[in-house]
Symmetry: C3
Subunit: 359 residues, 3 copies
Amino acid sequence: MTTLLKEIRHNPLLWLLVLVPVVWAAQLIKPEAHTLLFVLSVAAIVPLAALLSRATESVAAKTGDMIGGLLNATLGNLTELLIALAALRAGQYVLVKSAIAGAIVTNALCMLGASFLVGGLNHHVQEYNRNNARFLASLLFLATIALLIPSVTAEADAPFTQTVSLGLSVLLIVTYGLGLLFELKTHRELFTGADHTEPDEEAWPLSLALITLAVVTVLVALVSEVFVESVQQAATALGLSPAFVGFIIVALVGGAAEMASALSAARKDRLDLSVGVALGSAVQIALFVAPVLVFLSYVIGPAPMDLQFWRGAVAMMLIAAMTASLVTNPGRSAWFLGVFLLIVYLIFAMTLYLLPPRI
Amino acid sequence: MTTLLKEIRHNPLLWLLVLVPVVWAAQLIKPEAHTLLFVLSVAAIVPLAALLSRATESVAAKTGDMIGGLLNATLGNLTELLIALAALRAGQYVLVKSAIAGAIVTNALCMLGASFLVGGLNHHVQEYNRNNARFLASLLFLATIALLIPSVTAEADAPFTQTVSLGLSVLLIVTYGLGLLFELKTHRELFTGADHTEPDEEAWPLSLALITLAVVTVLVALVSEVFVESVQQAATALGLSPAFVGFIIVALVGGAAEMASALSAARKDRLDLSVGVALGSAVQIALFVAPVLVFLSYVIGPAPMDLQFWRGAVAMMLIAAMTASLVTNPGRSAWFLGVFLLIVYLIFAMTLYLLPPRI
Amino acid sequence: MTTLLKEIRHNPLLWLLVLVPVVWAAQLIKPEAHTLLFVLSVAAIVPLAALLSRATESVAAKTGDMIGGLLNATLGNLTELLIALAALRAGQYVLVKSAIAGAIVTNALCMLGASFLVGGLNHHVQEYNRNNARFLASLLFLATIALLIPSVTAEADAPFTQTVSLGLSVLLIVTYGLGLLFELKTHRELFTGADHTEPDEEAWPLSLALITLAVVTVLVALVSEVFVESVQQAATALGLSPAFVGFIIVALVGGAAEMASALSAARKDRLDLSVGVALGSAVQIALFVAPVLVFLSYVIGPAPMDLQFWRGAVAMMLIAAMTASLVTNPGRSAWFLGVFLLIVYLIFAMTLYLLPPRI
């Protein structure tokens, strides 16, 4: 507990935690002030995500870069999953889908690019395990092929779209499970990164890390409710298109935790961890979170959700997967590769920002 | 002859050869029993394909993995060619085209994937000549670019489509010829696989192998006639869409011979032979069989055939070529790469299976 | 000056320089003879381009393969830029755009392919710096993603297309600048080709080279005016579609200078220079010339120009970038890779040639 308080005292970002109770106060007093609630809930999720990141790093510190990366991706995506669940319960399927697509694109382009850029500004050339990067980029490519299907067969009838989405969800989650078996069990020797013995910031005790994870998860779930309720009307008030909000803002807010740990790892020349977090997170959203949301929509949603995305979103996911595959192929990085990925991301973000709202 | 009989006695699959005369008997007695004829002819082609495979392996045994792979692909595709010729003569151009597209996708995804999976279950990591794999995957990519043209310019008029298809056929077959010159003559040293001195099953004498090839070819041609006549009505009776039948069933039946030799080579850690058979076969269908069928349609078909495929088929061929290129790039394989290719294949097969018949 | 005259005496191609004054004479006497003016101006640009090439090589001889390649690409593209400027001033935006798209495709497929073929006919296998090839192919891929945007969002309104084109132009030119910083300054050690100490043809003195560059630039600009005025009507007279003329003929004429130096370098086994010229030139047109033309259209054009290309052109640019990336990935070349690129180019050229004019 003392460790946690000391941490908060030294990290000004965590002072934003004070906004968590403010969100509920505002929600009770002014439930119709959507823009205010939107800004407050975004600002409150960021320190929560940072706490998650710090707690996860503590656990990861004892498990090695690769498992740590997987762990980060799993727990980092908790934020995305919780936001998507709130939207699913509210029946906002367009928001759920653009959050999924946006998270994939943001992780594979923006987070990976920012890691390469930050790493490259501190180190001339950085090496990382290309087997791991290739494996993750290939899985992402497979997922985008699957997500392409319901969109290109859109002229078929709705029952087909629903059935094929269910079938694809099963195939995706089976692939994810077999991929974990391959990476963590049968061929783990292919995925071990270079050893970095450099000592970390003092790692938290395991008990504190786990308790923090649990409590913060609940807090994120609660703030996400407020976020989802306010986001669309706030977007209209701010003159942003729903596509931009779902794709860019929700994805950046949801990914803040992983972004923080990916960048900090890149700065410390632990690029295996950065690539694992960024691509691993994109893979997990595509092959695990998306199918789980489809299954859960039968239980908690007002109607079954399919995997039919807006065609532009499918194209962006496909290009993101191909770009990530192209860039990580050599297993080496320098600052310009970060710029490269970020420019592709900016091309997409600018297009979505300028796109007239009706599309 | 004794060798052949001994072979048949020891291989239960070959007992199915008894079905070959049964097909003709059934055809004479009950020509309207389409589903029965369909099932019988499929079941009769399989042992014939196995015999072809065994005879080809005997010839290949004396010529090295690479030439053997090419030989396998050439003779294995005889089955596809004979089925396509039967369909061409009957004017069933939709069946011809979906058989071509299906054979490319099935060889590049299902056969290659099954080889990697079977090989990977028996060996931890397998290496193979990546020059050969890259060469074949690139040729496949080129062929899919060519086959894309008549489909994306579909708004143009029919004479354009016919002329451009003829031009593309010439370019494809010229590329195929120059590719063979490169692989077998000017740069053959780039394509030699690792030597495997491990002795094979007793190879047949060359004369027996060649006679078997000739006789079985004729038998396949005759059974294919029955197959083509019965397939569409049987499909309707079985509730399968024509796209699924042409793409998946015809391709699997036609490729049974190569599948058998690719899998047996993978089990013996001769992955160069497997990759050569699977990708080489896809390449040969795209760059040799397809153009030959276009040319022959002017002679034996009721009307000239073009190369305008259904857009979904083009997309699947393009994705298959890109996936094969991505997966074979490292020149190493493990079981998960097989799963990867098979999942992409399953995504396509499931979509075609679920697709409403009218599309 | 004596050097220049001696050069002209020994190079029959340069005798075509006599056509430069003939073009103006013809323009004055028979301004309505479009086909004649078209043929004359094409024939006059070729020796001018050759002179540019020779002068550039002289400068490049003192700066090493990589800088020389960049220099060649910069000055070689002067011809394209001058032709495009003449078309821009005449408000012929369709011609400008197809010249841009055609130059990208021609450089990445035809020029690179011809270099690999010519090099491969003289050398069994050639090696080159794959870092450089990868860097350029990746930049080309990024540019085609950017140029894809206004085409796939064509259903949006015109102001959106104009704004997004401006934004993309800024992103492209920023990427180009940062790419130069990376290649020439911060990471230049990654891009140095193998040393070739073999002496060149006697290099011109720097002063002669620079004066020739300046004078010939003015001449090309003047001949381009005649070319642009005559090209469309000549095309109609010759039965060629405007797409074919802009894409293939303008691109080949505009790229003649670089083609000459790329081929001569390939013959001398200086493939780093060939790849630098071919891909570097494609990259420079996509990331520098295209945005500059958009900016200049606000100043010298009759109306702002956007980056919305015909969808077929976008598809060809994207395929060209992917093919170049695939082929240059190994950093080794043999004659068949040249054939491969040229066949893809022929597929496009034949399609454009056969395409009915109305498209």
